[in-house]
Amino acid sequence: MNAAAPATDALLYLNGVTVSFDGFKALNDLSLVIDKGELRTIIGPNGAGKTTMMNVVTGKTRPDAGEVFFRGTADLSRLDEAAIANLGIGRKFQRPTVFENLTIFENLELSLTDSRKTWGTLFARLTPDRHDRIAATLARIGLTEQSVQLAGSLSHGQKQWLEIGMLLIHDRSLLLLDEPVAGMTDRETEETTALILDLAKDRTIVVVEHDMAFVRSLGARVTVLHEGSVLAEGSIDHVQNDPRVIEVYLGR
């Protein structure tokens, strides 16, 4: 596909990625490798480039320099959002964004792995098989009883679950979760942690997070971003004891 495709079996491969906005470098020569099946958390102070990194991977922002590859062959810096989504990369936003004027059921219906062509959607039928998959997902995210309610009527935490459910039903191989427990109660956070750990058994997940207690409870490899590049990487204990990390992030 591309002559410059790197010889790597990593699922997601970022090398030397730079993004600047009016001279401000949101990402500065960022390199990051996520292996297949990995659960990774990414932390960093505000402005460290966490969200920009997600925007680059999902096609919302084009990098000024550097390469971004999925499965070693797909050059994500050349594809648009829809094409990247169809490769199997799902994204959950920081603020829950569900379709508030559609029912829970319809939100999931739009997320099914199915024809994305305009003409296909015009004649799409809800087969029993698809119906069952939606029902199974509803049960998994605990929203079966609310399925015919408008998504706008859900609580904040329920919206977060619905959004995760929308990613689940699409069978993505890589999920990017941007602050999945922001604004959740302790109980909701606990349930979400369990859900993420469960999901991580059969897919690759990257979690961007502020909440250190939550990061610790995931028990995953941690990457610390600072000023657009990687400052440290390792277990949570390792990075928490790194003096540079303490200086820029944890110590404040």
């Binding site: 999902t58 062509k117 305009t118």
Partner: protein, 380 residues
Amino acid sequence: MPAPSCGPIKNAWGPGFWAGFVACGIVLIVIVPALNLWVPPASRIALPDYLVPLLGKYLCYGLLALSLDLIWGYAGILSLGHGAFFALGGYCIGMHLMRQIGTRGVYGNPLLPDFMVFLNWKELPWFWWGFDHFAFAAAMVVLVPGLLALVFGWLAFRSRVTGVYLSIITQAMTYALMLAFFRNDMGFGGNNGMTDYKDILGCDVHQPSTRLGLYLASVVALGLGYLLCRFITASKLGRVLLALRDAESRVRFLGYSVTNAKLFVFTVSALLAGIAGALYVPQVGIINPSEFSPGNSIEIAIWVSVGGRGTLSGAILGAVLVNAGKTWLTGAAPETWLFVLGALFVLTTLIFPRGIVGLLRQARWVRPRATAPLPAGEQA
């Protein structure tokens, strides 16, 4: 878990819907012509001949409003230049009607329409070729607005022009077309437009029977257009449209092409507007560049919001009621019309954002999912 037996997605084609649809059809196709043809003119319930083309005109406006509701109510695309597609459809049929005049024009020229003789033109411009044939003109009625919408929409939606910016460039489009059509050199009759039609498909356009036929054609076009719009909005594509209206980027991250979905409904909508224009022109007997004026396009949006945005039937109702009110008021107290129109728009926005249909549904019972709910925080 036990799956709900009927399925949680509302069936848009239930018996209740068909009963209402057929009832409206009977009133428009059977009762109206019967009141016109078989009730003696002296009777109080008789429908005089002059009202038939007037009703036909309202129905054309209804189809035009329906086309705007499809893109505005469901996909959130507020086109303020939809009058342009209507006028282009009208011009296509107007050109055919001009060719039908033949030697019966004031100058009696067998080759050229009167306005070209007046401009001292010697031969028919190439873009008038083919308009002698009804089938060619009918094809142009859909092709010209459809192609313009396809090209304009592709450029706009691909560049992700949305919201008020899109509304402004659609205004600019219709304004530019108006200025172009005002020029005599364009070859479309300039300021005066085209009028003085004699016949259509061999029937005299002034005969009551022809007018009744045009009225019935308008009813059929409106009915089919309504079914098409309902089919689109009740499909999964309809739900994609609602979703992109409220959270466009989320739809992209789900893997749908927002550009293609918008382009599809925008083009369908322009086709419907073109057909409405083509049925309108023979009934009112004239087409001129003022049909392109930006004010006309804004008025369409008012009809839709008065009737109820995102309801389809409300758009038709709004168009018919507002125009009937306009006909009555411009006769009774002409100077007040614009104030009433403005007040209507303000009232709709402030007091009943879901329009007349929304009010009716609220008053009777809540039918939760038959309409497209308005986006949060937005009123009209």
